[in-house]
């Protein structure tokens, strides 16, 4: 358990490649930063595949001990199934967004370097490195540092355009996220005081249900929930995600909130003793349910396309919390289904929401505005973007075949199988509301443009294809047989092994 495993060096590569790349890109600047970022993010996909393949081949988590220091003295890098799957998802989305942003964030030929371009490419790499650190970290304090890196990188991407409205919403995001981080850090202090280690795999099974441990878990959970914008802590998300440039929104909504989600799983599935976790999980799931219903309802009533998509994120994050009571209190089979369902939701939402934000950005660019009531003509101007929006919408609604459907189906059947039918009702109601807001957008884009509106500007196919590609991946996740997701079960406490 506490030794570097074969293929463990891959984890170092996954971490060092983007981080060193960011440092170099910063020094080189200008167009070199762009070329370096594209190269390394492309390589990142290969590394993601390699890590997943290695985990799958070993059938067990792969571990690397930097410096050879074993926990509790040192800290470990661990890629279990969750980490590997999220790493791969991240690599794909990041590379796609990098390609998407090539045109918008190219350094103009008459300048050696511009602010926005340099920041974009450097912080893409920074985001890749931070996410790798957040997924692979085995030590809860190291994960705190990773979370902070992530916040900085995400924030900078969000502020890229330097619009007046951005600073206010992003500062709100920063301040709230910082409270979340500090609460998380406070939890780690208590845990260290209780057990003398912060390695989550060492903590697993060793924790007691005593006052410090439980308070630590409560603090860490609340902190992570604030970073994930779990309802009603979502105040920062809609303006921050809607105000950012499309590429940044795609990453913020698709990936950044998922890092906190993985940490949440580390706390709840690994660290917390099962009995209290079982008792408190319904509370979180209830907030998740509220997020689904309120987020979807509010999305339905938004006047601006990007805010609509941002509220959809608030709602979709809710689904992630529904898995907790099912994984914790269910029978072994229910737990494994719910686990897969939750992670599949995280993955398919990453692809679908990234596609949706990119598509929304393209629609807004083509029309010159993003008022939901005046989207007419977008269908002709950017047909592929509209198609991508629709496909991503299907996945979010949970219409088959799509990753979203499989995810929601798994959550649904495990909820019913475990007699917790109320979650099933929420899943279905959320799907219905999602259908409502997706339809509002699609129907608007297909309609003819209003007579007095300026002609929508047709856009090049390249960025549209990127959005479409991401949407297709989120759909394709639903076409894979369930057994091929055996990866995500690897390393989960209480896992039965692969699905039947």
């Amino acid at each position: 358990m506490t030794a570097t495993t074969p293929a463990g060096w891959l984890l170092v590569v996954a971490l060092v490649l983007p981080v060193a790349g960011m440092l170099l890109a910063f020094v080189l600047g200008g167009r070199a930063a762009e070329r370096l970022a594209l190269l390394l993010l492309g390589l990142g996909v290969g590394v993601g595949v390699a890590v997943s393949a290695a985990v799958l081949r070993m059938g067990a988590p792969i571990v690397y001990l930097p410096g050879g220091w074993a926990p509790p003295l040192g800290l470990a890098l661990v890629a279990d199934g969750v980490a590997a799957a999220m790493l791969l998802t991240t690599a794909l989305v990041l590379f796609a967004v990098a390609l998407f942003g090539r045109a918008a964030h190219a350094t103009p030929p008459d300048q050696a370097e511009t602010r926005a371009a340099l920041a974009y490419w450097c912080f893409l790499l920074a985001l890749a490195g931070s996410l790798a650190a957040a997924f692979l970290g085995g030590d809860l304090f190291n994960l705190f540092v990773a979370l902070e890196m992530l916040t900085f990188a995400a924030l900078s991407l969000a502020c890229l355009e330097g619009k007046p409205s951005q600073f206010r919403s992003e500062l709100r995001y920063l301040l709230f996220a910082l409270i979340g981080s500090v609460l998380y850090l406070l939890g780690t202090a208590l845990l260290y005081g209780g057990y003398g280690t912060l390695d989550f795999r060492l903590l697993a099974g060793r924790t007691r249900a005593d006052l410090p441990t439980l308070l630590a878990a409560a603090l860490m959970t609340a902190g992570l929930a604030a970073k994930m914008a779990l309802f009603p802590l979502h105040l920062w998300l809609p303006p921050a995600h809607a105000g950012a440039p499309p590429a940044a929104s795609a990453l913020l909504s698709g990936l950044v909130v998922k890092a906190a989600f993985v940490l949440l799983l580390r706390v709840w599935i690994w660290v917390l003793p099962p009995l209290p976790a079982m008792a408190a999980a319904p509370l979180l799931a209830a907030l998740g349910a509220a997020a689904i219903l309120v987020g979807s309802l509010v999305a339905l009533r938004q006047a601006r396309l990007k805010l609509l998509v941002a509220y959809s994120t608030v709602a979709q994050i809710g689904y992630l919390f529904l898995m907790l009571p099912l994984v914790l209190s269910g029978a072994a089979e229910t737990a494994s289904h719910a686990w897969l369902g939750g992670l599949l939701q995280a993955g398919s939402h990453a692809f679908a929401k990234a596609a949706m934000f990119l598509a929304a950005g393209l629609i807004a660019t083509a029309l010159g505005h993003d008022r939901v009531t005046a989207l007419g003509g977008a269908g002709q101007a950017v047909p592929r973007a509209v198609f991508a929006f629709g496909l991503a919408g299907l996945s979010l609604m949970g219409i088959p075949p799509s990753g979203g459907f499989t995810a929601k189906w798994l959550l649904l059947t495990s909820a019913l199988g475990d007699g917790q039918w109320w979650w099933a009702a929420v899943i279905l109601g959320g799907g219905l509301l999602t259908g409502g807001y997706v339809y509002r957008v699609l129907a608007g884009t297909i309609a003819a443009p209003p007579g007095d509106a300026p002609r929508p500007r047709p856009l090049p196919h390249g960025p549209q294809n990127v959005a479409l590609g991401l949407a297709l991946i989120s759909v394709a996740l639903g076409l894979l047989p369930l057994a091929s997701f055996g990866l995500v079960q690897i390393g989960r406490p209480g896992a039965l092994g692969a699905l039947p």
């Binding site: 570097t4 060096w9 170092v12 060092v16 981080v19 060193a20 960011m22 440092l23 170099l24 910063f26 020094v27 600047g29 001990l65 930097p66 410096g67 050879g68 220091w69 509790p72 003295l73 040192g74 800290l75 890098l77 050696a112 370097e113 511009t114 602010r115 926005a116 340099l118 920041a119 450097c122 912080f123 920074a126 490195g129 304090f141 190291n142 540092v145 990773a146 902070e148 890196m149 900085f152 990188a153 924030l155 900078s156 502020c159 890229l160 330097g162 600073f167 406070l186 208590l190 260290y192 005081g193 209780g194 057990y195 003398g196 280690t197 005593d210 006052l211 410090p212 308070l215 630590a216």
Partner: protein
Amino acid sequence: MILDWLLDGMVALLILAAALWTLAAPTPFAAVIGFVGFGLLASLAWVRLAAVDVALTEAAVGAGATGVILLQSAVRLRRGAAEVAAATPGRATTLLAGLLAGGLGLGLALAVLALPATVPGPAAEAAARSAEVGLGNLVAAVLMAYRGLDTLLESIVLVFAVLAVWAMGPDRHWGGIPGPRFARQRDGPLALLARWLPPVGIVIGIHIAWVGADAPGGKFQGGTVLAAMWVLAWGAGLVRPPSVADRRVRLVLVAGPLGFLLAGLLGAVLDGSFLAWPAALGKPLLLLVEAAMTLSVAAALALLVVGPPERRA
């Protein structure tokens, strides 16, 4: 014993008072002054907790560097009293917040009291194996070896922060000079201080960084002192911040983390493990990395104090 008690009690009370003042001070400026006091008192508490390395860091970074940044912003953020008044919640919310925060504090206090009196931690092993690292200061051993990854990421966070702050500036000033311009002080106390203190400070800073291997001190503390000297000279108008497009500055900024990374990779090649200090090169390599880190920390801290580019080069 009684004396210890009195001392600890007084420090704790003073810290609490400083914190209360920071929250309740009538003007932002007074609040920041309170906060600097809080930081200095907190470093006293760290000494009392037998954590001298932390005490130095808290004084240098927590009180010093943070204080400078906050003071600067308190000076610049003058207006907006009406906006603040409009956004301040009412009495009921305040009361509720007080109750909830108090409840949380109470729970936390109970949890701290309920922590086991002794816990087998990694400290014994850290002490036993410090010879392998060649660092007499255990905290430095943790930072540079056992938990080197934390330190690596932390030094990278500083680079993130510098670029992030720079990127806050307007497009037209990219490639320009960061921070406000200060008139060159020909005489007066600041000019005097800015002329005479830096040579001493630089020596002290390097010393702190140097002794960090075996005694309390280290790159963060030393780097902060170096940064402070430069900031002093900048405030007196003696030096001009470099352009953000200057590749040399960027190289200095990344030298620490990049050197750490390269040394780590060297460890992977020579010693079979990333972030291991190869036995063959041992201490010299470590000191080289420490020096680079000190330089980078100093540059990052100074540039973070200065802020985003505000004028053309």
